[in-house]
Each structure stands twice: as structure tokens, then as C-alpha cells.
């Protein structure tokens, strides 16, 4: 439902000295376009190096792993961050990247509670995520310039997994790394223009939560995760 639109827009048009325009799409004819040339000539390896250097700036640990080592690396990183409980997305990529046995067998055998996002249990997912020590998601797109992972929410990919637990771990296939937010914006905008369904939430996440609100002192960890780790998967 939309309320009071007509009079509101009429006021605007009147102030602009013309009739209201709700039908004729204005042409986007830009004279400048600096974003299209920023960082676009970097090789795959240079993008990785840029991404890694940015991790230091955003207070985020990173490690590069091959698919074959990923299971042990993830297990190790969870231990380093204090262990479970662990919350993670219901995401086919966990199986594709060989993590199913860790999730279904090894962690339970070690008494590490695993809460896979489960649409059938509704709000109980949030309670589990709130109690979790570590939240784990894959990155859907990754931005080299800023060390950013981009997450598209859906039924299995709850927003809470990356914000409620104390530690956030992102699994980042190197193939998802693009130069900067420009490429993500172009990708999303194209989807909109194609009439594809938008996720209700897209999160661009760059490291742990932080603040400088007290005497401009940097504080890591406020409402969101206190620690963040990126595991970059180099051969996928």
C-alpha cells in the first residue's frame, strides 16, 4: 500500500517548475565513469594479493587453502576461535567442497554442536545462532579492494549466521573474487533489469564489527562478531 504519494510528488514537481513525471524514465547519461576503470586490469593473482592486504586493514585473519585441505583448515580455525557451537548455512557448497563429513560426523563426535540453518524450525534458528560461538557462511561474491564478502540471503542462508555468533568465518572460493563493489553492483543491477527475484537482504561484510565512538579509539567487536576469519579456497 502506498499513501499520500500523489500530493507529495506534485509538491516536488511544482517546486521544480514543471508537471509531475511518473512515466518517462529519465535517461542515465553520465559524463564521468571512474568506477569502470578502477582496478580492472589486475590479474587473478593480483586480485588475491590485494584482497589479502586488505584483510590486515579490516582486522581479519585469512588463510589460503586448497579444497583437499579445507576440512582440516576449517576444523582448525574453529578450534582456534574457541570451538563450537557452530552455526552454518544450509548450503550445497558445504558438500561440494568436501565438508559434509566434518559437519555430520567429526564435529558431533567431538561434541561440537552444529546448527545448520533449517527453515522448518523457524525462529529457533535465531536462538541457535545467538548461542553459537562461530558462524560460517560461503561468500557469494568477494571484493578485492575492500576485503568484502557479499552474501545473498535466502531460505537456507539466514542473515543471523553472519551477525549473531562471536566469530564469523567466511569460506571464499577464489573464483568469486572481483575487483571492487562496481562489479557486484553491475551484477545485481543486471539481475534487476532482467526481472529476476531480488534477495530480501544483501550484506556486504568487511571484517568484524567495530566502532570509534569513544574518543575515536578503534574498538573491535560491538554488536556483531568480535573476530573474523577468511578462508580463501585457492583451487576453485
Amino acid at each position: 500500500m502506498i499513501q499520500q504519494r500523489e500530493s507529495f510528488l506534485n509538491n516536488i514537481a511544482k517546486a521544480l517548475g514543471r508537471d509531475v513525471n511518473m512515466a518517462n524514465k529519465p535517461e542515465l547519461k553520465w559524463q564521468y565513469n571512474p568506477q569502470s576503470s578502477t582496478l580492472i586490469n589486475l590479474s587473478k593473482n593480483e586480485l588475491l594479493q590485494l584482497f589479502k592486504s586488505q584483510c590486515n586493514t579490516i582486522h581479519t585473519n585469512y588463510v589460503v587453502s586448497k579444497v583437499a585441505d579445507l576440512k582440516n583448515e576449517l576444523k582448525h580455525r574453529v578450534e582456534l576461535n574457541g570451538g563450537g557451537p557452530v552455526s552454518l548455512w544450509k548450503d550445497e557448497r558445504f558438500a561440494e567442497f568436501g565438508l559434509q563429513s566434518l559437519i555430520e560426523e567429526e564435529w558431533p563426535a567431538l561434541n561440537v554442536a552444529v546448527n545448520e540453518w533449517n527453515p522448518d524450525i523457524g525462529a529457533a534458528n535465531l536462538t541457535q545462532a545467538k548461542r553459537s560461538n562461530v558462524g560460517i557462511t560461503f561468500s557469494d561474491m568477494t571484493l578485492a579492494e575492500t576485503g568484502t564478502v557479499v552474501l545473498f540471503s535466502n531460505s537456507g542462508k539466514g542473515r543471523s549466521v553472519s551477525i549473531l555468533p562471536k566469530t564469523y568465518i567466511a569460506l571464499i572460493p577464489q573464483s568469486t573474487i572481483v575487483p571492487r563493489m562496481t562489479q557486484a553492483a553491475q551484477f545485481i543491477s543486471q539481475k534487476v533489469k532482467n526481472g529476476e527475484a531480488m534477495p530480501a537482504c544483501i550484506n556486504f561484510i568487511s571484517g568484524p564489527s567495530n566502532s570509534a565512538d569513544i574518543e575515536m579509539n578503534p574498538i573491535i567487536g560491538v554488536h556483531g562478531p568480535i573476530k573474523a576469519t577468511y578462508i580463501i579456497i585457492s583451487d576453485r
Partner: protein, 476 residues
């Protein structure tokens, strides 16, 4: 008037703030740090001037086509299942939000930081009808706990408070028992506020930029409180100033790039969230109901005027971070929720000249603000225009100033009077000279100046005499 933050006189607040050494060192320290970080990060980006020009053309285009884009945005929010309310006034916006709260039988709302909700006085309105309002941004928590102390900066609103002040506030209001270490203080807020997100009926946010093509709202933060505010409560209300909109994701990205670098001197914040309507049927978390309140509150009166470009502002505070006047008097001196150069231009336009007629004179017109603005708003020229409006249209000239300029006009029109008076100045001033170095207690036109700082003594030789003597010396 919610834009106005106190009933104190501008002069009185300035005088009092100039005695506050902590506040002054805090402002100057923050300005220096943010300015240097900003310069470094914009250099890393590459051709900053081209980015600024692109930002300017985007903002100009949006304002010129605002009706089209607001129509497109609202259509798209509705298609996603959201509600859109166009509020011409603060009262209308508050009343609509009150109605939503009443329908939801809401007892508690959580808020992430939002200037426009400050502008419309939403907290007071909701509290007056018995709803608990919980601010969740760390600085806003501090200010709310300190008897709703007003903000002193757009990006870091509690900049005027020391960590010892904050510790004391938390001890009184949040049962805090630890030290003044900033991390310990922040952890306490994390612990005490976490449950509020789960017990709140409504989450209220502002909006950095709405995206017309998709019906989305974009929110940029560092702390993650906006993410919790928009993820956990069942109802989300986002309030936006009507001008905070872009056509597509591509312009959103450009403005976010400009905003973050200009605001905090980093190339990114921890979180940039793009939210499109309520959660989808199959989603688990996210709001079941989404309301977008688009606020005019005086903005349309600025459209089509010589001040239109002030609506290009993206609220980065870069102008505040370079302003030499803000540096000394602090944000609260402007008596507006919008301090610094942006506040000087915007506050009288939104809040009226009666309350803010002193502000246009709180500027050196040095132009640093215009140079810093990432979307090239000619701020110092707009401040100058504000002075013109005060003098030429509103006849708001202080009587002393009027007498002074009339006298100067008379004196300047007569050679005899001008020569006599300028020769007398040096002798007259001798009475006020302290230690033969400076004047510390002036009179007439320099009284205001010397109430805050010293005035250099006039030379005994007038410029004209010096010039004539110089010519003579050269000929000899």
C-alpha cells in the same frame, strides 16, 4: 522544533564551549585524524576529482528527477509487499509510525542511528505514547543514557564526551562496574543491548540511499546494530529524507564509495546492507512487515531555489571535519542536529531563520568545506547566500552592524572624514592595548572578537601613508 537542540543563545553556547578544553582537543584531534585518513584513502582510489564529479552529476540528476524516482521506488517497495508512506511533515511521519506501533501493540522499539528520526523528534513522540525506545549505536546509547544529550557530530555524535564521562554514565544507568577502557565499555553495551533486539516489537532505521530500480534501502554501518535491527524484530520501519535516493545499484555503489571514504577515511565499513521489502515467504529471519516512510519536512521548499544543491548532501561530515570554526566551538554550539558547514546552510532552511540566524556568520568562508565535499556542494558560497538572505530579504542585521556600516559608508564617501578617522584609530586603540602586543578587551566592532581571542594592534602608520612614503623612497 526537533532540529534545534536547546533554547540557549548561539553566543552563550560558543562562549561556554570555548572554555571546554577537553571538547576542543577532542574536536581538533578527530578533525586531524579523519582529515589525514581521508586524504590517504582518496589518493589510493585514484582520480578523486573524477569520482567527485560523478557524484555531483548523480546527485544533480536525482534531484532534477526526484518525482520519477520516488514513484519508481514506492512502486517497487509495494511490489515486494512493503508499505510506503509519504510524509510531508514531521508530524505526519510520527503519526504514521505511531499508528503502525499501535497496530502492532508495540511496547519496545530498537533503533539504529538515523539523522532523519532525530530531525522529526521520533523518540520523544514514541516515548510520549508509552513506547520504550532503545538506541543501539554505541554513541547514541551514550547520549540517550546521558539524559538525551544532543549530538555534536554527524558521524561520531558523542565526540564531546571523554571515556571517563562515559564510564560514569554507564555506572549510573547501565549498572557498569569496570574501567574506562573503551573496549570494556563497548562490550558492556553489547551485553546489555543484545536482548533488546529479541524483545523489541519494531526495528527502526534510517537510510543512506534508497535504490529506485529495486525498491531497496541501503544502510552503511560499522557496529552491526543495523543488521540486528533489521533481522530480528518482526516489523521494520525505515525512515528516509526524500532526497536520499539513487536510480540503480550502480549509482548506489558510487555514492557509497564517496560516502565511506569521506566520512571515516576508510575504503569500507564493516557492513553495507541492502534490504528489499519484508522477508520472503520461505526466509526465516528478517522482518515480516516492512514500512518505508519518506519524509519531506521542508525539503521541497528548497527545491527550485538557489539552495537546491544542499539537498545533494550525502551526510558524510567531510565538511565538518575540515571546518576551522567547528574545530573551536564544537558541534553543539550550532544548536542544531546538523552542525558545521552543512548545518549552517541546512538548519535555517529546514528549521527557520528565527532559530538559526546566527549560524551563517559561524564561518570563515575559507572554502575548505566546499573542497572537501565529495559531491561538490559549493558550501561556502551557499553560506554566503544565507548571509545575503538575512541582510537583503529578511533585514536581519544587528543594529550595531547597521550603524557601523552606515558610519563607514559616510566616512568612506568623504576624503576628509576618512583621512581624519583612520589617523585617529591608532591613538584611540592605545587605551586598549595590553603589554603593547595586542588588544584583549575591545569595543564596538571588535568587542565580540576580543571576547574570545586577542586582536592585533593597528600599525601606527596607515597603509596609505606607508604607500606614499614607499613611493617617495623609491623615487629618491
Amino acid at each position: 522544533m526537533p532540529i534545534k537542540i536547546s533554547n540557549n543563545r548561539f553566543k552563550d553556547i560558543v562562549h561556554s564551549n570555548l572554555q571546554d578544553q577537553f571538547m576542543r582537543s577532542s574536536m581538533s584531534g578527530a578533525q586531524d585524524g579523519l582529515r589525514l585518513s581521508r586524504l590517504k584513502i582518496i589518493n589510493e582510489l585514484g582520480d578523486w576529482e573524477e569520482w567527485r564529479s560523478h557524484g555531483e552529476e548523480i546527485r544533480k540528476h536525482v534531484l532534477e528527477n526526484l518525482d520519477y524516482y520516488l514513484n519508481e521506488l514506492s512502486d517497487n517497495v509495494e511490489k515486494l509487499g512493503g508499505y510506503v508512506y509519504f510524509a510531508e511533515t514531521a508530524e505526519e511521519a510520527n503519526r504514521y509510525i505511531e499508528d503502525v506501533a499501535r497496530k502492532k501493540k508495540a511496547k519496545k522499539v530498537v533503533k539504529s542511528k538515523s539523522m532523519v528520526t532525530e530531525e522529526i523528534g521520533l523518540n520523544k513522540h514514541l516515548e510520549a505514547i508509552g513506547i520504550e525506545v532503545v538506541e543501539t549505536d554505541l554513541a547514541e546509547v551514550i547520549l540517550q543514557m546521558d539524559n538525551n544529550d544532543p549530538p555534536s557530530h554527524i558521524i561520531t555524535p558523542a565526540l564531546h564526551k571523554s571515556k571517563e564521562d562515559i564510564r560514569k554514565i554507564f555506572m549510573e544507568k547501565l549498572n557498569y562496574t569496570k574501567t574506562s577502557d573503551p573496549t570494556e565499555l563497548a562490550r558492556h553495551v553489547r551485553e546489555t543491548k543484545r536482548d533488546d533486539f529479541f524483545t523489541a516489537d519494531i526495528g527502526i532505521t534510517g537510510c543512506n540511499f534508497a535504490i529506485a530500480e529495486s525498491g531497496s534501502v541501503g544502510i552503511v554501518t560499522n557496529e552491526g546494530n543495523d543488521r540486528l535491527t533489521t533481522t530480528i524484530p518482526k516489523t521494520q520501519i525505515t525512515v528516509m529524507g526524500m532526497e536520499r535516493i539513487v536510480p540503480t545499484f550502480e549509482e548506489f555503489e558510487v555514492l557509497v564509495t564517496l560516502l565511506i571514504r569521506s566520512a571515516i577515511g576508510q575504503n569500507i565499513t564493516s557492513y553495507v546492507s541492502v534490504l528489499s521489502g519484508p522477508k520472503r515467504m520461505e526466509d526465516v529471519d528478517g522482518p515480516e512487515e516492512f514500512h518505508l516512510v519518506i519524509v519531506d519536512n521542508g525539503r521541497s521548499k528548497i527545491l527550485g531555489t538557489e539552495f537546491q544543491s544542499i539537498l545533494h548532501c550525502i551526510r558524510c561530515a567531510a565538511c565538518i571535519n575540515v571546518c576551522p570554526v567547528y574545530r573551536h566551538i564544537g558541534g553543539q554550539a550550532y544548536n542544531s542536529i546538523y552542525p558545521g558547514p552543512i548545518g549552517i546552510v541546512l538548519s535555517p532552511l529546514l528549521g527557520g531563520y528565527d532559530d538559526f540566524k546566527d549560524l551563517p556568520y559561524a564561518s570563515s568562508l575559507c572554502g575548505a568545506c566546499s573542497q572537501a565535499c565529495p559531491v561538490k556542494i559549493p558550501l561556502h558560497q551557499l553560506i554566503h547566500k544565507q548571509r545575503q538572505v538575512l541582510v537583503e530579504e529578511l533585514d536581519e542585521v544587528p543594529i550595531q552592524e547597521e550603524v557601523l556600516y552606515k558610519t563607514f559608508g559616510l566616512g568612506g564617501a568623504s576624503n576628509v572624514l576618512y583621512t581624519t578617522s583612520t589617523k585617529m584609530i591608532s591613538s584611540l586603540m592605545k587605551t586598549f592595548i595590553k603589554d603593547k602586543k595586542y588588544i584583549s578587551k575591545g569595543f564596538g566592532p571588535i568587542k565580540e572578537w576580543t571576547s574570545n581571542r586577542d586582536f592585533p594592534i593597528p600599525k601606527s602608520e596607515r597603509f596609505r601613508d606607508w604607500f606614499e612614503n614607499r613611493e617617495r623612497r623609491i623615487k629618491e
